[in-house]
Assembly symmetry: C2
Homo-oligomer: 562 residues x 2
């Protein structure tokens, strides 16, 4: 800090790091070569036999890493998750990290992957950010095979009497491709199919991604796939994958993708990286199978969920943990001084200047998330991810704020120092877990009405005043009850930037109303998505995409990937 150094890029640090054969990493958590299905020397999937064998073992403690509402300043949630795992290992704990897989779309579009940063990264970073073990490709294939089979059903006589204007299943690609958001397919005359409106979502927004991440195993996966609603028939009744009779084929396409992937951090801490549903239209957590396997393999599991605590953590706690019968023990809320200053009204270009007043104002955001986590019955620690630009006064002010509000806090420097930079946070967590036991419980009952469930999240998690439902949404609520979907949890699709549904309202907005304009049933995943505002399910590329800088050197090594 203060000393001017040549800063290496993430990929340089990753490529210069020593990576151990994955079988050696596996040995540290009691797995042998026979438990693994290798993808090269440094990646492996856990076999079905291994997953079965693990079921009878005792479970370790699950720690969830979440964050404040994200800002363009960056919070480094993945980096803290990786660094915290390394810190647990450093202080002698048996730990396994459980992360989501990155999507190729953002990798190609903007600088920034999902494999951590600096000295807190997972390896092999290039592989994980590119095709990894092919899971997302398998999901894309299953998604699009379903679409092809559905359009073929229309073409071959439409026995199920599907209303072609009411097909809700979209195609997908694991790319940022705005031109595919709204398309017309089936053009060219009677032998080319039935013309209809369609669109593509990015693969992480596919319901199959959510299904795979919530499935407890292969047979549960098949059952969930069969329940997916793809369209409505001319009598407005739902048509499912099961009605089409293709859940077996889709399961076959996913039979390897459903197995968790084992890799390692730069400090050789084992990490299971598996699945990656969006945290708006889906639940934003890595797979249940990976989280469970991690809890059987480690005394501690460090896992994370997408976006801020109002989205990813809320869904981890109200949807994933409930559905999978997981009991989280503690939560880390990642913040930075820079991001809090933005929540306090500072523009990104002015972040270099000390601004205690803005920091204090922005602190309301982290405070709200802390209250939410407490309302789930969980102990927590605020992790302040330090940046070189943070002033001593700012750091001090933030610690004082936490102390005043009785919030456990720890500074982390994991980007620069790896696990060593996370030891304070790890010790604070252990201390907090010893003192205050987890009394985890979801915030609503499944028997509550969908309307009540949405209201609970809006009021207890977002701090809003009330919810309004559009006429369409109200009509859907009646239909959904009729279809027997009323007892499913809700999955809120909301902007990640604000606690409200207005991305411009930073800090801790109050007295706001959330408008639910539409519901989207994800019956395979097992939740009802409530859409508020515009939700982007297929991102676009920026003017200068990261792809323009990517290359491969003569030896086949990636260049320009972050």
């Amino acid at each position: 800090m203060g000393v001017k150094t040549m800063v290496k890029s993430d990929i340089e640090i990753a490529q210069q790091s020593h990576i151990n054969p994955i079988k050696e990493i596996a040995e540290t958590i009691g797995l042998t070569e026979d438990d693994l299905e290798f993808y090269g020397k440094y990646k492996a999937k856990l076999s079905f036999e291994t997953l079965k064998k693990l079921q009878t073992k005792e479970s370790g403690k699950i720690i969830l890493v979440t964050a404040i509402n994200p800002t363009p300043a960056g919070e480094g949630k993945s980096t803290v998750t990786v660094g915290l795992g390394d810190a647990f290992k450093k202080i002698g704990k048996k730990v396994v990290i459980a992360l989501r897989e990155p999507s190729l779309g953002p990798v190609m579009g903007i600088k920034g992957g999902a494999t951590g940063g600096g000295y807190s990264q997972v390896l092999p970073m290039e592989e994980i950010n590119l095709h990894f073990t092919g899971d997302f490709h398998a999901i894309t294939t299953a998604n699009n095979a379903l679409a092809a089979l559905l359009d073929n059903h229309l073409q071959q006589g439409n026995q199920l009497q599907i209303d072609q204007r009411r097909i809700v299943w979209k195609r997908s690609m694991d790319l940022n491709d705005r031109a595919l958001r709204k398309v017309v397919v089936g053009l060219g005359g009677p032998v080319q199919g039935v013309p209809r409106e369609d669109g593509f979502d990015i693969t992480v927004a596919s319901e199959i991604m959510a299904v795979l991440c919530l499935a407890s195993g292969l047979q549960d996966l098949k059952k969930r796939l069969a329940r997916i609603v793809v369209a409505y028939n001319i009598n407005k009744q739902p048509v499912t994958v099961g009605d089409l009779g293709v859940e077996g084929a889709l399961t076959l396409f996913l039979k390897d993708a459903v197995k968790p992937n084992l890799v390692q951090t730069i400090e050789h801490t084992p990490a299971l990286i598996h699945g990656g549903p969006f945290a708006n239209i889906a639940h934003g957590c890595n797979s249940v199978m990976a989280t469970k396997a991690a809890s059987k393999l480690g005394d501690y599991v460090i896992t994370e969920a997408g976006f801020g605590a109002d989205l990813g953590a809320e869904k981890f706690l109200n949807i994933k943990a409930r559905s999978a019968n997981l009991k989280p023990e503690a939560v880390v809320i990642v913040t930075t001084i820079r991001a809090l200053k933005m929540h306090g009204g500072v523009a990104k270009s002015d972040l270099g200047q000390e601004n205690i007043a803005a920091l204090e104002a922005g602190f309301a955001n982290v405070e709200k998330h802390a209250e939410t986590i407490s309302s789930f019955g969980l102990p927590l620690v605020i992790a302040v991810n330090k940046f070189v630009t943070d002033t001593e006064q700012e750091v001090k002010a933030l610690l004082v704020l936490c102390e005043k509000k009785n919030l456990p806090v720890a500074l982390t420097e994991v980007w620069e120092k790896g696990g060593a930079g996370g030891v304070d946070l790890a010790n604070k967590l252990l201390e907090v877990m010893e003192k205050g036991e987890s009394n985890y419980h979801p915030l609503y009952e499944l028997s509550d009405s969908i309307e009540e469930k949405v209201r609970t999240v809006v009021q207890k998690v977002y701090g809003g005043k009330d919810v309004e439902f559009s006429t369409k949404a109200r009509k859907q609520l009646v239909e959904f009850e009729k279809f027997g979907w009323g007892n499913l949890p809700v999955c809120m699709a909301k902007t990640q930037y604000s606690l409200s549904d207005d991305p411009g309202k930073l800090g801790r907005p109050e007295n706001f109303t959330i408008t639910v304009r539409e519901f989207k049933p994800s019956i395979g995943a097992g939740f009802i998505v409530a859409l508020t505002g515009d939700v982007m399910t297929m991102p676009g590329l920026p003017k200068v995409p990261a792809a323009l800088k990517m290359d491969v050197d003569e030896n086949g090594n990636a260049v320009g990937l972050f």
Copy 2:
């Protein structure tokens, strides 16, 4: 034969076969564990270092397996290729098989993979027929990333002045999906992209597939990708991948896909399975890198090319072998008595009846292909792939026909007997190769005009009278010369069912004219496609797709996959 037996399905035979760890297979051809990048226990890629190391080794003899014009009766070309490899191994030869990878489209659509059949199959059959090592997914991704980057270029100001009506790059999917043949993308208003006509090809029809299969290595791959023409600008000049500046990113997406995959047959013969371009719009052969590696690892390479000798073999000999500097030593032309009877006018439903006259009439088809192979300066053997329904009289008649025309012939029973069923063919081939040395030469010079090259193929390979070019095609010929593309080989896109461009003309049609309606430049692959008749680049699914029968059992094993 004659005895009624319970016939096992291909997948049952494959799953009941013993498979050896791939490292043991590798050892039999002088490779160690360090030469391999494992994908599970039974699949591996050859590393770049290994490929480099092999370059200095002496080359084995390359034997090409081709066939008569395919009929609905089935010829079993892949099965004979695999069985012949096993036969070479059985008689003590060091042999490596080199095949194409199957596409998921046909796997999902109709019963029939590309992994052989009966006791002449490659293993693990399910994996190879599903995602294998992800090569096709990587190609699909590169193809669609290019499309997304191109549409993004339009959206972000269109600096290259691309004429959006003259974009020739299409999106792709490795599925049979007729609804995607003709689509409109970019709908929904100004922030959703520029509306334009588009379409999807199946991945095996993507130029990137052809590029990958003709590339000599990673750097050559990048150069070829840069040359791909994606559109024309407002001045009607070609716009390439290099102009967009994304060849580095595309190469990065393909850096593992470009490495050949090692697997084994049921009899543990090593097989390199890599790439799979269509044999109409592309050249229909497995990758140059795999064929070359196979020739360095074995004293004999058994490889195959798509469809009949008029398509796959012509392109292997005029395009692939010339471009890669390969010298094939002999050719096998696979036929069946059933298929020849169909070429002689018998309907599929009547194939059960003995019909010597039809067989004799249909023989003209195999005779023409034999003449063609001879005109390339290559010795050949006719392989008669025996079926239980063939009568003794029919077999005798066919052997007499071959003898009369001085065509070396051997019967094979590889489906039922594996390598043992191909020993006669292997011995005949060795005999033929000893007697008549290969005097391989392409049929035309690259310096011939495009028109002359097309005419040569039509007259010498198809036995046609002449070629007609549409007004559009004539205009293109002038343009292409101007763009400097005149010295590329031609890649004929023609129906596979007939020597002519009319799929109904079986046997050996004569005095016909072929009409070239349009040319398509594949500058990255390095050839000019001549389109005759309608060429299907995105197949559709049948009324009852194979996907309806597919499933996975409780242990994760594939069910209903052939």
